[in-house]
């Protein structure tokens, strides 16, 4: 039996690897992963450096005193003094980031809320006015012979970052997106050979030939399933390798990741590879089950299109909404793979959830394969033409 499955597997793999379309499907999406990681890192880096290096263009409708001038220099302000009407015009034409108007002791920060940089501009303007207010308060207290330091610093505020090592927002963002792309690459890679090996074989008339050989249906199905599974794993592992290489590249190339180790550690990598293998196993079975119901290659491809969305959608949801991985979620197909990856990526490894994901996947594959074997006993499906 093993030899027969191996012979069918050999035949199927030969067909997959000699078919240019199957090969390109296996490689196209993995090749897009470096573009995604490098492209996203570039955008993040550009945004952050833009806000750090910016010289703020600020307007005032009053003349600045010596202290105010010092503050503008400290905060990298390129300032302009003009009347309010002109300042408004300059803000509207984006020549100013914000302007400050003064009416007696009342200062007004004028900014454009619709501008992408408005939160940063507002915060800088507040920083400027608070610094000036602090100076005036200290000066007032000192004149009254009161220790300004004791009064103004009666309460001190300090900041402490409690996020775990490597648990950086940008790193999490690109690695999760890369994982979703790996999932998509595996799905697309599984659909083509599964279509070719089932509906394609029917359409070409070679299925009838195969059925005349002394082979059990289970041998035929297992051989076909393993070939799709292997090509999916190859795509998954290639995608993973491309992800690692891309992360090495961005880690060394962008200031954004300075002093951060973007690369996953060995346990994270091994569990990610394990998730990739489990997902490949499930999606290969599902793709064969759907495609073998179809009469023609085209029909099978149309039937498999929703699978690409179904595989990607729960992952997106899990990524966008912060869901806690429970035992129940660990057995929900598609959602469990992304959830467990998110946990592992955040250094939150739960072996019970991983085991549940693995066991449930094995059960689903068993059910799917027995359904396909039954389908191959149904003449309506085999000889639908």
């Amino acid at each position: 039996m093993k030899t027969k499955i191996f012979s069918i597997l050999k035949k199927e793999l030969r067909e997959v690897f000699r078919d240019k379309k199957s090969l390109s499907m296996m490689l196209i999406i993995p090749l897009m992963i470096p573009l995604l990681i490098i492209g996203m890192s570039y955008l993040f880096d550009y945004q952050i450096n833009k806000s750090i290096d910016n010289n703020y263009h600020v307007g005032f409708n009053y003349k600045l005193n010596e202290i105010e001038e010092k503050l503008t220099k400290k905060l990298n302000f390129n300032y302009k003094i003009a009347d309010e009407k002109e300042l408004k015009k300059l803000l509207e034409t984006e020549k100013l980031d914000f302007y400050i108007t003064k009416n007696n002791n009342k200062y007004i920060i004028n900014y454009d809320k619709n501008k992408e940089t408005s939160p940063i501009n507002l915060s800088v303007a507040e920083q400027y006015l608070n610094s000036y207010k602090n100076y005036l308060q200290a000066n007032f207290l000192n004149k009254k012979n009161i220790n300004s330091n004791e009064v103004l610093n009666i309460l001190t505020i300090d900041y402490k970052n409690i996020s775990k090592e490597n648990n950086n927002f940008y790193v999490n963002y690109i690695t999760t997106y890369a994982f979703l792309f790996i999932i998509m690459a595996i799905t697309i890679s599984a659909t083509y050979p599964s279509t070719d090996t089932t509906a394609g074989e029917k359409e070409r008339g070679t299925l009838e030939t195969l059925l005349t050989f002394p082979l059990k249906n289970s041998d035929i199905i297992l051989g076909k399933y393993l070939s799709v599974f292997i090509s999916s794993i190859i795509t998954g592992l290639l995608s993973f390798l491309f992800t690692i290489f891309s992360l090495i590249y961005v880690n060394n190339s962008f200031k954004l990741y300075a002093n951060i180790n973007v690369l996953p550690n060995i346990s994270t990598s091994l569990i990610t590879i394990f998730i990739i293998i489990c997902y490949s196993a499930l999606i290969s079975g599902l793709a064969i089950a759907i495609a073998s119901h179809s009469k023609t290659f085209k029909e099978a491809q149309s039937a498999l299109t929703p699978l690409t969305f179904i595989s990607f959608f729960p992952g997106m949801i899990a990524f966008m909404i912060n869901i806690k991985t429970t035992s129940l979620i660990s057995i929900i197909p598609f959602l469990n793979f992304t959830q467990i990856f998110n946990d592992v990526n955040s250094k939150n490894i739960n072996y019970l959830n991983i085991s549940l994901m693995f066991i449930s996947t094995i059960i689903y594959i068993g059910i799917i394969l027995s359904i396909i074997i039954k389908q191959y006993q149904n003449e309506k499906i085999l000889f639908s033409s």
Binding site: E208, T212, E379
Partner: protein
């Protein structure tokens, strides 16, 4: 010996109101093929020949009736029977992305061929003159060469029974003759051959026994000469038209 008893195959077809209607593609057919005999199954397109041969080769199950190979049946001995069968049809295609050598090697693996695989492929390629294109991909071969590879696929495991369904359909004279010569040679080697065709002249040339089928039923059986005598005709084509009580141009 192949023995078919009261075999029926029921299908459904849709009428113009999209209602499912039952019909028998093969209706109560019984026939025998002795060892070393070529048995022809003759009839027009749609008579039920392909369905009958698909059931005999084990790729379809009969709705009722029995099919036995030397007292073995598909329910109990499917793998064993299939190891002794070669099925060649006008509809069956072979894998095009592999070479003839790879195809033959794969067939030997599937048939669990115990003897030396390389020697067997060498011998068969010599008999069918495949040497010049043995390692070429099948998609690059001509129709005649592809048909020779297809025959090699059938011969490779030295089967006891041949089931040939419209094997010459759509082929040119040379390719058809290759197949007819092959059948005659295998008969000489004591093999049992079931041969379906709608070319009556071919059947007259090679068959020991013929079964004429129309609309899923046997309408005549016997040796070609017996049928001609019974119908008082000079060829099997005329016999067939006489038996269905129609004119030549009706079919």
């Amino acid at each position: 010996m192949i023995k078919i008893e009261n075999v029926k195959k029921e299908f459904f077809k849709l009428d113009k109101n999209h209602q499912k209607n039952k019909f028998f593609a093969v209706n109560d057919i019984s026939l025998k093929a002795q060892d070393g005999e070529i048995v022809g199954i003759l009839g027009p397109n749609g008579a039920g020949k392909t369905t009958l041969l698909r059931m005999i080769s084990g790729i379809m199950k009969p709705t009722s009736g029995t099919i036995t190979y030397d007292k073995k049946n598909f329910n109990k001995n499917e793998i064993e029977i299939k190891k002794e069968i070669a099925y060649l049809s006008g509809n069956t295609k072979i894998y095009k992305s592999i070479s003839a050598y790879e195809l033959l090697k794969m067939c030997l693996d599937f048939y669990d061929y115990k003897k030396d695989h390389e020697k067997r492929i060498k011998d068969i390629s010599k008999i069918l003159e495949l040497d010049s294109f043995l390692y070429n991909k099948i998609e690059n071969l001509s129709t005649g060469q592809t048909q020779r590879v297809n025959i090699a696929r059938c011969l490779i495991h030295d089967p006891k029974y041949y089931i040939l369904d419209e094997a010459t359909s759509g082929l040119d004279i040379i390719s058809s003759q290759i197949i007819l010569d092959f059948i005659k040679n295998e008969k000489k080697r004591g093999k049992t051959i079931l041969y379906s065709t709608h070319y009556m002249e071919e059947a007259q040339e090679i068959c020991d026994q013929v079964y004429m089928i129309n609309k899923g039923k046997i309408i005549a059986s016997g040796s070609p000469n017996d049928i001609k005598k019974k119908t008082n005709t000079t060829n099997l084509r005329d016999s067939f038209f006489k038996l269905i009580g129609g004119k030549k141009n009706e079919n």
